[in-house]
Symmetry: C2
Subunit: 341 residues, 2 copies
DNA sequence: TTGAAAGCGCTACCAC
DNA sequence: GTGGTAGCGCTTTCAA
């Protein structure tokens, strides 16, 4: 059933039916009602292609994410974020076009999506510190929202982000106040913006307490179990081992625990650990360790908000770029850890 | 730059240009070359909407996945699978339309995608044992491929799946041959097809060795750390504790380990464990435990294949439904575990 | 308040 | 081998 047929059924012109369905004011109320009813009855849905062709809008949003580091973002933040965004899209009749893209040919893919007229806007996932995509997207001229930030770029684009810096600052301060002086940081890949900010928070807290960071106690990498194990093992076997760890991601923390366990060290007795992770429900490793976290619900919320920001920009290209910072939640474990030995 | 303008530049008709670009045979080779060159030069890309409208094909594929259980599939298989599928799509000029959908209103969303003419086919993720979507999709009439299977449905649809049954059968047999008689199964949610098949494999191996399954030693649930912990704790504290565990997912296995550790039991000394997981690179918990696994590469391969199957069906609706079973790989740990005490 | 008609950019049929 | 032209289903002037 298409518009024309529907119009014939109603003894109306396609024009009027179109207007009625799209909320134009000049349609008589009774007519509109009649049309809407018939549309429901025949389960009429406008053909997206014709509509796109006629309006120039595609009613779909491109989500582009680098695949080589996929696990960093996909797992698990990405799923929840996208679910949140979809809630908004569905409500507003938009589709979500997912484009995993190799780190290399990003520019190509963005341009293609743009030129073929396939999307009305972009969500950018997993920004690096210096992320070329922002300049690229600006040049391309479609609205976009960044999930995260790119610290080394002028901050005049719209973004939504967790306050990673603050979470790590608070976590570090907490450990310092417990009496720790040698605190290890096991971080994500530090060319990723979120990891960089976490590090900054860590350093800021040290500095404001008059502590000097020890490079031997700072490590970054893909957030795997293996990284946690290697980093902790090296540090614990080093000349002056840490008494506390601050760990990016639960998975990495598991590796840290393995290294502790191998050395007969007990968490909460010999060593303190604080974890930051965005995936609580899935992998909660007991409740013995304090966690800074973006809960699943709040990541979803972030997705919803990002989508709303983007749709607003699509509708009103002149509107100011919104920026939104969300706070991580602190969940205290049973033991916040001991004073250092 | 659109087709008409490009044609004018070349002093050709739009028709010829279109034919040249779409590989029709009746174009003179020199003309084709001229056209292709110009297209590249002006960075011409056809407007997807016009093309869709004219051809009736959307050049995009819908990936629909239930969100309520999202972590089960999203994490981490989904990312790799979709990356693989995208490789195929990009090559063939297709887009990937992602639709997270609440378990409830699936029918609606599928129909909408179909009626609005938005997709040419579907990939179905995370099938349940009795999955209504298969009947629904058949009724809707677009080609689809299921990532996984639905055991309780007639198996005449196209699917691609890991051989979960066989992996668990082999794993169980391995434990039995080591001398274990009381083997625990910590499984995923058993209304999910993959989990059901794993259980079947487990039971089959017991049966073929003349062992009777003990319901107290079988547990299913969301594959979280907590499930592993609870299940193992209950079983170990029960009247006749298991001497070996077979665990679905690395994350769950971490919980099992915690329970063991709490009780002073050591893995590889007091108890054997075999894990099945599809996410090796990310969360490899040491190399001390044997793992059945679909490697990241093979999951990607599965995505590629599924996409190819689907595109084939789209092009030739009459073609027979392909079905493809992939074998999990066994990676032996340093210790395969002891004989039972 | 409604309708007729002209496109949107492309493909595909038919004629040359 | 190439070109003219009629749609695909919708929106959007302009006219009534």
């Amino acid at each position: 059933m298409n518009l024309k047929e529907l119009a014939q059924h109603l003894n109306l012109s396609p024009t009027t039916v179109s207007r009625a369905l799209n909320g134009y004011p000049e349609v008589k109320e009774t007519t509109r009602r009649r049309v809407e009813e018939a549309a429901r009855e025949f389960n009429y849905m406008p053909n997206a292609w014709a509509k796109g062709l006629a309006t120039g809008r595609s009613m779909s949003i491109g989500h582009v994410m680098p695949t080589s580091k996929m696990h960093e973002m996909v797992n698990p933040v990405f799923g929840d974020f996208i679910t949140g965004a979809s809630e908004t899209y569905v409500k507003e009749g938009y589709d979500l076009k997912l484009t995993p893209v190799d780190d290399g040919d990003e520019a190509q893919r963005y341009r293609a999506l743009r030129t073929r007229g396939n999307v009305d806007g972009f969500i950018v996932h997993g920004p690096h510190l210096t992320d070329g995509r922002i300049a690229l997207l600006r040049e391309i001229g479609l609205p976009f929202v960044v999930h995260g930030r790119a610290s080394n770029m002028p901050a005049d684009y719209p973004w939504i982000d967790m306050n990673n810096r603050r979470a790590f600052e608070r976590a570090t301060a907490l450990l310092i106040e417990l009496g720790h002086r040698r605190i290890a940081l096991v971080n994500g890949l530090e060319h990723m913006d979120f990891a960089h900010r976490r590090r900054e928070g860590f350093l800021a807290a040290l500095a404001s307490h008059g502590l000097v960071p020890d490079p031997a106690l700072m490590r970054g990498g893909e957030m795997t179990e293996r990284l946690g194990y290697r980093a902790a093992a090296d540090m614990l076997d080093g000349t002056s081992p840490p008494t506390a760890f601050l760990v990016s991601s639960m998975v990495t923390a598991i590796g840290v625990r393995r290294a502790l366990h191998e050395r007969g060290l007990e968490l909460g007795r010999d060593v303190s650990v604080i974890i930051h992770d965005d995936d609580l429900g899935y992998l909660r490793n007991g409740d013995d360790v304090p966690i800074f976290t973006a809960t699943r619900a709040s990541v979803r919320e972030a997705g919803r908000r990002a989508a709303e920001m983007l749709l607003r920009m699509i509708r009103d290209p002149a509107c100011a770029p919104l920026q939104s910072l969300m706070e991580a939640e602190l969940i205290l474990g049973r033991s916040t850890g001991p004073a250092p030995r």
